[in-house]
Amino acid sequence: MGFNKVRGIIEALVFASSEPVRLREIAEILGIHEYTVRDLLDDLMSEYSQNQRGIQITQVAGGYQFATNPAYADFIKKMKKTPRHTPLSQAALETLAIIAYKQPVTRAEIEALRGVSVDSSLNTLLERGLIEEKGRKDGPGRPILYATTGNFLKYFGLNDLSELPAIEDWTVAGVAVESIMNIDH
Protein backbone atom coordinates (compact mmCIF):
# COMPACT_ATOMS: atom_id res chain seq x y z
CA MET A 1 0.00 0.00 0.00
CA GLY A 2 1.25 3.43 -0.91
CA PHE A 3 1.84 6.23 1.53
CA ASN A 4 -1.15 8.22 0.31
CA LYS A 5 -3.46 5.29 0.67
CA VAL A 6 -2.42 4.45 4.20
CA ARG A 7 -2.78 8.09 5.14
CA GLY A 8 -6.18 8.14 3.47
CA ILE A 9 -7.32 5.07 5.39
CA ILE A 10 -6.21 6.62 8.67
CA GLU A 11 -8.13 9.77 7.79
CA ALA A 12 -11.20 7.67 7.00
CA LEU A 13 -10.92 5.70 10.24
CA VAL A 14 -10.60 8.81 12.38
CA PHE A 15 -13.57 10.34 10.61
CA ALA A 16 -15.78 7.27 10.71
CA SER A 17 -15.54 6.71 14.43
CA SER A 18 -17.95 8.65 16.58
CA GLU A 19 -15.47 8.33 19.46
CA PRO A 20 -11.80 9.15 19.63
CA VAL A 21 -9.78 6.41 17.92
CA ARG A 22 -6.67 5.06 19.57
CA LEU A 23 -3.34 4.63 17.83
CA ARG A 24 -3.35 0.98 18.75
CA GLU A 25 -6.63 0.33 17.04
CA ILE A 26 -5.56 2.01 13.81
CA ALA A 27 -2.24 0.16 13.90
CA GLU A 28 -4.02 -3.18 14.33
CA ILE A 29 -6.45 -2.55 11.51
CA LEU A 30 -3.67 -1.56 9.14
CA GLY A 31 -1.15 -4.07 10.40
CA ILE A 32 1.52 -1.39 10.84
CA HIS A 33 3.44 -0.01 13.81
CA GLU A 34 1.86 2.48 16.15
CA TYR A 35 4.68 4.93 15.60
CA THR A 36 4.08 4.86 11.86
CA VAL A 37 0.44 5.66 12.52
CA ARG A 38 1.49 8.47 14.82
CA ASP A 39 3.78 9.94 12.18
CA LEU A 40 1.08 9.86 9.56
CA LEU A 41 -1.43 11.34 11.99
CA ASP A 42 0.95 14.13 12.95
CA ASP A 43 1.33 14.84 9.30
CA LEU A 44 -2.43 14.90 8.73
CA MET A 45 -2.98 17.04 11.80
CA SER A 46 -0.49 19.65 10.72
CA GLU A 47 -2.01 19.71 7.27
CA TYR A 48 -5.45 20.36 8.70
CA SER A 49 -4.12 23.04 11.00
CA GLN A 50 -3.11 25.20 8.03
CA ASN A 51 -4.95 27.67 5.82
CA GLN A 52 -7.79 28.41 8.24
CA ARG A 53 -9.28 25.01 7.55
CA GLY A 54 -12.78 24.29 8.84
CA ILE A 55 -11.98 20.99 10.45
CA GLN A 56 -9.07 19.59 12.36
CA ILE A 57 -7.96 16.41 14.04
CA THR A 58 -7.86 16.78 17.81
CA GLN A 59 -6.17 14.58 20.32
CA VAL A 60 -8.64 13.93 23.08
CA ALA A 61 -9.64 11.24 25.56
CA GLY A 62 -6.66 9.12 24.60
CA GLY A 63 -7.50 9.10 20.93
CA TYR A 64 -7.89 11.10 17.76
CA GLN A 65 -11.03 12.65 16.44
CA PHE A 66 -12.20 15.17 13.88
CA ALA A 67 -13.72 18.40 15.16
CA THR A 68 -14.46 21.80 13.73
CA ASN A 69 -12.08 24.72 14.00
CA PRO A 70 -13.10 26.57 17.20
CA ALA A 71 -12.65 29.88 15.39
CA TYR A 72 -15.80 29.17 13.40
CA ALA A 73 -18.07 28.23 16.30
CA ASP A 74 -20.24 31.31 15.89
CA PHE A 75 -21.12 30.38 12.32
CA ILE A 76 -21.92 26.81 13.27
CA LYS A 77 -24.26 27.99 15.98
CA LYS A 78 -26.30 29.76 13.33
CA MET A 79 -26.99 26.51 11.55
CA LYS A 80 -30.34 24.83 12.16
CA LYS A 81 -29.19 21.23 12.35
CA THR A 82 -26.46 21.77 14.88
CA PRO A 83 -26.20 19.81 18.08
CA ARG A 84 -26.77 22.26 20.91
CA HIS A 85 -24.12 22.63 23.54
CA THR A 86 -25.95 23.31 26.77
CA PRO A 87 -23.44 24.28 29.44
CA LEU A 88 -23.66 22.39 32.70
CA SER A 89 -25.37 24.11 35.62
CA GLN A 90 -23.13 25.30 38.43
CA ALA A 91 -24.57 22.60 40.69
CA ALA A 92 -23.81 19.85 38.17
CA LEU A 93 -20.36 21.26 37.58
CA GLU A 94 -19.48 21.26 41.28
CA THR A 95 -20.70 17.71 41.65
CA LEU A 96 -18.71 16.71 38.59
CA ALA A 97 -15.60 18.46 39.90
CA ILE A 98 -15.77 16.42 43.09
CA ILE A 99 -16.25 13.18 41.17
CA ALA A 100 -13.40 14.02 38.81
CA TYR A 101 -10.91 14.70 41.56
CA LYS A 102 -12.08 12.23 44.21
CA GLN A 103 -13.19 9.27 42.12
CA PRO A 104 -14.45 6.75 42.77
CA VAL A 105 -16.73 8.50 45.23
CA THR A 106 -20.11 7.87 46.83
CA ARG A 107 -23.09 10.18 46.82
CA ALA A 108 -22.78 10.73 50.57
CA GLU A 109 -19.17 11.84 50.14
CA ILE A 110 -20.16 14.32 47.43
CA GLU A 111 -23.00 15.64 49.55
CA ALA A 112 -20.70 16.12 52.52
CA LEU A 113 -18.42 18.25 50.39
CA ARG A 114 -21.11 20.28 48.69
CA GLY A 115 -23.41 20.57 51.69
CA VAL A 116 -26.49 19.91 49.60
CA SER A 117 -28.29 16.93 48.20
CA VAL A 118 -26.97 16.02 44.78
CA ASP A 119 -29.66 13.72 43.39
CA SER A 120 -30.56 15.85 40.43
CA SER A 121 -27.02 16.75 39.46
CA LEU A 122 -26.04 13.07 39.56
CA ASN A 123 -28.94 12.31 37.25
CA THR A 124 -27.97 15.06 34.85
CA LEU A 125 -24.38 13.88 34.77
CA LEU A 126 -25.36 10.25 34.27
CA GLU A 127 -27.75 11.22 31.48
CA ARG A 128 -25.11 13.24 29.72
CA GLY A 129 -22.73 10.33 29.99
CA LEU A 130 -20.14 12.33 31.92
CA ILE A 131 -20.13 9.98 34.89
CA GLU A 132 -20.99 6.35 35.47
CA GLU A 133 -21.54 3.94 38.30
CA LYS A 134 -18.33 2.13 39.06
CA GLY A 135 -19.04 -0.64 41.48
CA ARG A 136 -19.92 -0.35 45.13
CA LYS A 137 -18.02 0.68 48.17
CA ASP A 138 -17.38 -1.91 50.85
CA GLY A 139 -19.11 -1.07 54.09
CA PRO A 140 -22.60 -0.47 55.41
CA GLY A 141 -25.23 -0.19 52.69
CA ARG A 142 -22.57 -0.83 50.03
CA PRO A 143 -23.17 2.57 48.41
CA ILE A 144 -22.68 3.07 44.67
CA LEU A 145 -19.38 4.58 43.59
CA TYR A 146 -19.28 7.17 40.83
CA ALA A 147 -16.46 7.88 38.38
CA THR A 148 -15.99 9.97 35.27
CA THR A 149 -16.26 8.48 31.76
CA GLY A 150 -14.33 8.78 28.51
CA ASN A 151 -17.00 11.23 27.46
CA PHE A 152 -16.00 13.42 30.38
CA LEU A 153 -12.48 13.64 28.99
CA LYS A 154 -13.85 14.50 25.57
CA TYR A 155 -16.22 17.11 26.94
CA PHE A 156 -13.41 18.96 28.67
CA GLY A 157 -10.79 18.31 26.03
CA LEU A 158 -8.57 16.20 28.24
CA ASN A 159 -6.43 13.36 27.04
CA ASP A 160 -6.52 11.56 30.35
CA LEU A 161 -7.30 12.30 33.98
CA SER A 162 -3.73 13.27 34.72
CA GLU A 163 -4.37 16.37 32.63
CA LEU A 164 -6.87 17.67 35.16
CA PRO A 165 -5.38 20.91 36.48
CA ALA A 166 -3.89 20.49 39.93
CA ILE A 167 -5.94 21.71 42.84
CA GLU A 168 -4.02 22.23 46.06
CA ASP A 169 -3.65 18.90 47.85
CA TRP A 170 -6.32 17.26 45.79
CA THR A 171 -4.82 14.46 43.81
CA VAL A 172 -6.56 12.36 41.27
CA ALA A 173 -6.67 8.79 42.50
CA GLY A 174 -3.90 7.19 40.46
CA VAL A 175 -5.31 3.69 40.53
CA ALA A 176 -8.48 4.69 38.83
CA VAL A 177 -6.84 6.54 35.98
CA GLU A 178 -6.14 3.61 33.69
CA SER A 179 -9.60 2.14 33.88
CA ILE A 180 -11.32 5.45 33.56
CA MET A 181 -9.36 6.27 30.47
CA ASN A 182 -11.01 3.46 28.62
CA ILE A 183 -13.72 5.00 26.60
CA ASP A 184 -16.99 3.21 26.72
CA HIS A 185 -19.02 2.53 23.74
Binding site: F15, A16, S18, T58, Q65, F66, A67, T68, P70, A71, A73, I76, T82, P83, H85, P87, L88, Q90, A91, L93, E94, L96, A97, I98, A100, Y101, A112, L113, R114, G115, V116, S117, K154, Y155, F156, G157, L158, L164, P165, I167, E168, W170
Partner: protein, 287 residues
Protein backbone atom coordinates in the same frame (compact mmCIF):
# COMPACT_ATOMS: atom_id res chain seq x y z
CA UNK B 1 -34.03 24.96 71.35
CA UNK B 2 -32.81 28.32 70.26
CA UNK B 3 -32.19 27.22 66.72
CA UNK B 4 -35.72 26.00 66.45
CA UNK B 5 -37.10 29.30 67.58
CA UNK B 6 -35.10 31.26 65.09
CA UNK B 7 -36.08 28.87 62.37
CA UNK B 8 -39.72 29.43 63.13
CA UNK B 9 -39.37 33.19 63.16
CA UNK B 10 -37.28 33.17 60.03
CA UNK B 11 -39.53 31.09 57.93
CA UNK B 12 -42.99 32.13 58.80
CA UNK B 13 -43.40 35.31 60.75
CA UNK B 14 -40.70 37.43 59.22
CA UNK B 15 -41.57 36.65 55.67
CA UNK B 16 -45.18 37.48 56.17
CA UNK B 17 -44.17 40.78 57.61
CA UNK B 18 -41.85 41.63 54.79
CA UNK B 19 -43.54 40.91 51.50
CA UNK B 20 -41.94 43.98 49.91
CA UNK B 21 -38.51 42.77 50.88
CA UNK B 22 -39.16 39.37 49.40
CA UNK B 23 -40.46 40.89 46.21
CA UNK B 24 -37.37 43.06 45.90
CA UNK B 25 -35.16 40.08 46.30
CA UNK B 26 -36.98 38.40 43.49
CA UNK B 27 -36.55 41.48 41.33
CA UNK B 28 -32.90 41.62 42.14
CA UNK B 29 -32.42 38.36 40.31
CA UNK B 30 -33.12 40.12 37.07
CA UNK B 31 -32.45 43.76 37.76
CA UNK B 32 -29.21 43.39 39.60
CA UNK B 33 -27.86 46.45 41.32
CA UNK B 34 -30.79 48.84 41.51
CA UNK B 35 -33.33 46.50 42.99
CA UNK B 36 -33.35 45.18 46.52
CA UNK B 37 -31.56 46.42 49.56
CA UNK B 38 -27.87 46.78 48.86
CA UNK B 39 -27.07 44.20 51.48
CA UNK B 40 -29.00 41.51 49.62
CA UNK B 41 -28.50 42.53 46.06
CA UNK B 42 -27.11 39.08 45.54
CA UNK B 43 -28.52 36.89 42.87
CA UNK B 44 -30.15 34.15 44.87
CA UNK B 45 -29.77 31.45 42.31
CA UNK B 46 -26.04 31.89 42.36
CA UNK B 47 -25.75 30.01 45.62
CA UNK B 48 -25.25 26.35 45.25
CA UNK B 49 -25.79 25.57 48.90
CA UNK B 50 -25.15 26.66 52.46
CA UNK B 51 -21.38 26.40 52.12
CA UNK B 52 -21.46 28.55 49.05
CA UNK B 53 -23.54 31.16 50.84
CA UNK B 54 -21.28 31.12 53.89
CA UNK B 55 -18.22 31.58 51.75
CA UNK B 56 -19.87 34.50 50.05
CA UNK B 57 -20.83 36.13 53.32
CA UNK B 58 -17.32 35.66 54.70
CA UNK B 59 -15.68 37.06 51.60
CA UNK B 60 -18.08 39.97 51.38
CA UNK B 61 -17.38 40.93 54.99
CA UNK B 62 -13.67 40.42 54.43
CA UNK B 63 -13.48 38.12 57.41
CA UNK B 64 -10.56 35.83 58.13
CA UNK B 65 -11.87 32.36 57.38
CA UNK B 66 -9.76 30.94 60.25
CA UNK B 67 -11.35 33.33 62.74
CA UNK B 68 -14.99 33.65 61.80
CA UNK B 69 -17.05 35.98 64.05
CA UNK B 70 -19.69 33.31 64.41
CA UNK B 71 -22.42 35.49 65.90
CA UNK B 72 -22.20 38.00 63.08
CA UNK B 73 -22.07 35.40 60.34
CA UNK B 74 -24.96 33.46 61.86
CA UNK B 75 -27.13 36.58 61.80
CA UNK B 76 -26.23 37.27 58.22
CA UNK B 77 -26.89 33.68 57.28
CA UNK B 78 -30.31 33.65 58.91
CA UNK B 79 -31.23 36.92 57.24
CA UNK B 80 -30.57 35.30 53.93
CA UNK B 81 -32.51 32.22 54.92
CA UNK B 82 -35.58 34.34 55.54
CA UNK B 83 -35.50 35.39 51.94
CA UNK B 84 -34.96 32.10 50.24
CA UNK B 85 -37.94 30.33 51.68
CA UNK B 86 -40.18 32.12 49.26
CA UNK B 87 -37.96 31.47 46.35
CA UNK B 88 -36.56 28.03 46.58
CA UNK B 89 -38.07 25.67 49.05
CA UNK B 90 -36.25 22.79 47.47
CA UNK B 91 -32.95 23.81 48.95
CA UNK B 92 -34.34 25.16 52.20
CA UNK B 93 -33.64 21.86 53.96
CA UNK B 94 -29.93 21.96 53.23
CA UNK B 95 -29.73 25.58 54.36
CA UNK B 96 -31.57 24.78 57.58
CA UNK B 97 -29.13 22.08 58.52
CA UNK B 98 -26.35 24.63 58.24
CA UNK B 99 -28.36 27.14 60.27
CA UNK B 100 -28.56 24.74 63.16
CA UNK B 101 -24.85 23.95 62.85
CA UNK B 102 -24.10 27.65 63.08
CA UNK B 103 -26.36 28.03 66.08
CA UNK B 104 -24.62 25.15 67.83
CA UNK B 105 -21.18 26.60 67.21
CA UNK B 106 -22.36 29.96 68.39
CA UNK B 107 -23.75 28.42 71.55
CA UNK B 108 -20.55 26.49 72.26
CA UNK B 109 -18.48 29.60 71.83
CA UNK B 110 -20.62 31.50 74.27
CA UNK B 111 -20.14 28.89 76.99
CA UNK B 112 -18.02 30.38 79.76
CA UNK B 113 -14.85 28.44 80.36
CA UNK B 114 -13.37 28.19 83.83
CA UNK B 115 -9.69 29.14 84.16
CA UNK B 116 -8.82 25.56 85.07
CA UNK B 117 -10.47 24.21 82.00
CA UNK B 118 -8.52 26.61 79.89
CA UNK B 119 -5.26 25.70 81.58
CA UNK B 120 -5.85 21.95 81.63
CA UNK B 121 -7.25 21.45 78.24
CA UNK B 122 -5.46 24.07 76.24
CA UNK B 123 -3.88 21.45 74.11
CA UNK B 124 -7.01 19.46 73.46
CA UNK B 125 -9.67 22.12 73.53
CA UNK B 126 -10.90 22.34 70.03
CA UNK B 127 -12.17 25.48 68.45
CA UNK B 128 -15.87 24.77 67.82
CA UNK B 129 -15.46 26.42 64.44
CA UNK B 130 -12.71 24.08 63.31
CA UNK B 131 -14.80 21.53 61.48
CA UNK B 132 -16.77 24.24 59.74
CA UNK B 133 -13.60 25.98 58.64
CA UNK B 134 -12.29 22.73 57.22
CA UNK B 135 -15.49 22.16 55.31
CA UNK B 136 -15.39 25.69 53.97
CA UNK B 137 -11.79 25.33 52.87
CA UNK B 138 -12.57 22.06 51.16
CA UNK B 139 -15.59 23.59 49.50
CA UNK B 140 -13.44 26.43 48.23
CA UNK B 141 -11.45 23.81 46.38
CA UNK B 142 -14.64 22.36 44.92
CA UNK B 143 -15.44 25.79 43.56
CA UNK B 144 -11.95 26.19 42.27
CA UNK B 145 -12.12 22.83 40.49
CA UNK B 146 -15.54 23.69 39.09
CA UNK B 147 -14.18 26.99 37.76
CA UNK B 148 -11.33 25.16 36.08
CA UNK B 149 -13.79 22.79 34.45
CA UNK B 150 -15.98 25.71 33.37
CA UNK B 151 -13.10 27.26 31.49
CA UNK B 152 -12.35 23.98 29.78
CA UNK B 153 -16.01 23.53 28.98
CA UNK B 154 -16.26 26.95 27.35
CA UNK B 155 -13.16 26.37 25.32
CA UNK B 156 -14.19 22.95 24.09
CA UNK B 157 -17.80 23.80 23.41
CA UNK B 158 -16.46 25.73 20.44
CA UNK B 159 -15.50 22.43 18.85
CA UNK B 160 -18.19 20.48 17.12
CA UNK B 161 -17.74 16.81 16.53
CA UNK B 162 -19.33 14.85 13.78
CA UNK B 163 -22.71 13.82 15.06
CA UNK B 164 -22.65 10.12 15.80
CA UNK B 165 -23.75 8.48 12.58
CA UNK B 166 -27.26 7.28 13.08
CA UNK B 167 -27.31 5.83 9.63
CA UNK B 168 -24.79 3.67 7.87
CA UNK B 169 -22.99 5.83 5.40
CA UNK B 170 -24.06 4.85 1.92
CA UNK B 171 -20.63 5.56 0.61
CA UNK B 172 -19.15 3.06 2.98
CA UNK B 173 -21.39 0.31 1.78
CA UNK B 174 -20.60 0.55 -1.88
CA UNK B 175 -17.62 -1.80 -2.20
CA UNK B 176 -19.72 -4.63 -0.80
CA UNK B 177 -22.62 -3.64 -2.92
CA UNK B 178 -23.16 -5.98 -5.83
CA UNK B 179 -24.31 -2.94 -7.73
CA UNK B 180 -21.20 -1.58 -9.35
CA UNK B 181 -20.36 2.05 -9.93
CA UNK B 182 -23.08 4.55 -9.38
CA UNK B 183 -25.91 2.15 -10.08
CA UNK B 184 -28.45 1.97 -7.32
CA UNK B 185 -31.26 -0.47 -7.04
CA UNK B 186 -33.61 2.36 -7.73
CA UNK B 187 -31.88 2.74 -11.08
CA UNK B 188 -32.42 -0.93 -11.63
CA UNK B 189 -36.09 -0.67 -10.92
CA UNK B 190 -36.29 2.39 -13.14
CA UNK B 191 -34.68 0.44 -15.95
CA UNK B 192 -37.02 -2.47 -15.42
CA UNK B 193 -39.98 -0.11 -15.43
CA UNK B 194 -39.03 1.37 -18.78
CA UNK B 195 -38.64 -2.13 -20.18
CA UNK B 196 -42.10 -2.98 -18.95
CA UNK B 197 -43.47 0.17 -20.53
CA UNK B 198 -41.96 -0.53 -23.91
CA UNK B 199 -43.10 -4.12 -23.84
CA UNK B 200 -45.25 -5.31 -26.68
CA UNK B 201 -46.98 -8.55 -25.91
CA UNK B 202 -46.04 -11.26 -28.31
CA UNK B 203 -47.96 -14.24 -27.15
CA UNK B 204 -50.44 -12.76 -24.76
CA UNK B 205 -53.62 -14.19 -26.08
CA UNK B 206 -56.57 -14.14 -23.79
CA UNK B 207 -57.32 -17.46 -22.23
CA UNK B 208 -54.15 -19.03 -23.51
CA UNK B 209 -52.43 -21.04 -20.81
CA UNK B 210 -48.97 -19.70 -19.97
CA UNK B 211 -46.30 -22.01 -18.66
CA UNK B 212 -45.80 -21.45 -14.94
CA UNK B 213 -42.32 -20.20 -14.24
CA UNK B 214 -40.90 -19.87 -10.80
CA UNK B 215 -38.35 -17.30 -9.63
CA UNK B 216 -36.09 -20.25 -8.83
CA UNK B 217 -36.24 -21.47 -12.43
CA UNK B 218 -35.32 -18.03 -13.68
CA UNK B 219 -32.43 -17.77 -11.25
CA UNK B 220 -31.00 -21.03 -12.45
CA UNK B 221 -31.45 -20.00 -16.04
CA UNK B 222 -29.61 -16.73 -15.52
CA UNK B 223 -26.73 -18.46 -13.74
CA UNK B 224 -26.60 -21.05 -16.46
CA UNK B 225 -26.35 -18.39 -19.16
CA UNK B 226 -23.64 -16.64 -17.16
CA UNK B 227 -21.64 -19.85 -17.04
CA UNK B 228 -21.47 -19.75 -20.82
CA UNK B 229 -20.69 -16.08 -21.34
CA UNK B 230 -19.22 -13.38 -19.11
CA UNK B 231 -22.18 -11.01 -19.18
CA UNK B 232 -25.81 -10.67 -20.09
CA UNK B 233 -27.43 -7.38 -20.93
CA UNK B 234 -30.61 -6.35 -19.27
CA UNK B 235 -32.37 -5.48 -22.52
CA UNK B 236 -31.50 -8.78 -24.15
CA UNK B 237 -32.48 -10.84 -21.14
CA UNK B 238 -35.93 -9.33 -21.04
CA UNK B 239 -36.53 -9.04 -24.75
CA UNK B 240 -37.09 -12.74 -25.15
CA UNK B 241 -39.83 -12.94 -22.57
CA UNK B 242 -43.39 -13.44 -23.64
CA UNK B 243 -45.47 -11.78 -20.90
CA UNK B 244 -45.32 -9.03 -18.32
CA UNK B 245 -45.71 -11.69 -15.70
CA UNK B 246 -42.63 -13.53 -16.88
CA UNK B 247 -40.72 -10.25 -16.94
CA UNK B 248 -41.65 -9.62 -13.33
CA UNK B 249 -40.56 -13.15 -12.45
CA UNK B 250 -37.26 -12.62 -14.19
CA UNK B 251 -36.71 -9.30 -12.47
CA UNK B 252 -37.40 -10.84 -9.09
CA UNK B 253 -34.89 -13.56 -9.94
CA UNK B 254 -32.29 -10.86 -10.62
CA UNK B 255 -33.04 -9.14 -7.34
CA UNK B 256 -32.76 -12.42 -5.51
CA UNK B 257 -29.42 -13.24 -7.14
CA UNK B 258 -28.14 -9.79 -6.20
CA UNK B 259 -29.27 -10.33 -2.66
CA UNK B 260 -27.47 -13.66 -2.57
CA UNK B 261 -24.42 -11.92 -4.04
CA UNK B 262 -24.28 -14.40 -6.90
CA UNK B 263 -24.36 -11.74 -9.58
CA UNK B 264 -23.32 -8.14 -10.06
CA UNK B 265 -25.05 -5.52 -12.11
CA UNK B 266 -23.36 -2.55 -13.61
CA UNK B 267 -24.26 0.41 -15.76
CA UNK B 268 -21.32 1.95 -17.55
CA UNK B 269 -22.98 5.20 -18.46
CA UNK B 270 -26.08 7.01 -17.46
CA UNK B 271 -29.16 5.48 -19.08
CA UNK B 272 -26.93 2.88 -20.69
CA UNK B 273 -27.80 -0.79 -20.83
CA UNK B 274 -27.37 -2.69 -17.61
CA UNK B 275 -24.81 -5.45 -17.60
CA UNK B 276 -25.19 -8.54 -15.46
CA UNK B 277 -22.06 -10.49 -14.55
CA UNK B 278 -21.20 -13.25 -12.16
CA UNK B 279 -20.07 -12.10 -8.77
CA UNK B 280 -16.35 -12.71 -8.33
CA UNK B 281 -16.87 -14.74 -5.20
CA UNK B 282 -19.45 -16.88 -6.92
CA UNK B 283 -17.49 -20.03 -7.55
CA UNK B 284 -20.28 -22.23 -6.34
CA UNK B 285 -21.36 -22.91 -9.89
CA UNK B 286 -24.80 -24.15 -10.65
CA UNK B 287 -26.99 -25.58 -8.03
Amino acid sequence: MRARRVEKVGFTVLLKKRPVFARRIRESRTNGEEAGQPEYKIKLDVFEGPLDLLLYLIERAEIDIYDIPIAYITDEYLAYLRTIELLDLYYAGDFLVMASTLMQIKARMLLPRSPETVADEEEEEEDPRRELVERLLEYKKVKEAAAVLRTQEEEWSRLYYRSAGEFPDLEEEKPDDPLGGDLSLWDLIQAFRSLLESFTPRLEVEGMPVAQESVQDRMEEILERLSRKPQIYFSILFSGLPTKKSMVTCFLAILELIRMQRIRVRQDRLFGDIEITRAKEDDSGLQ
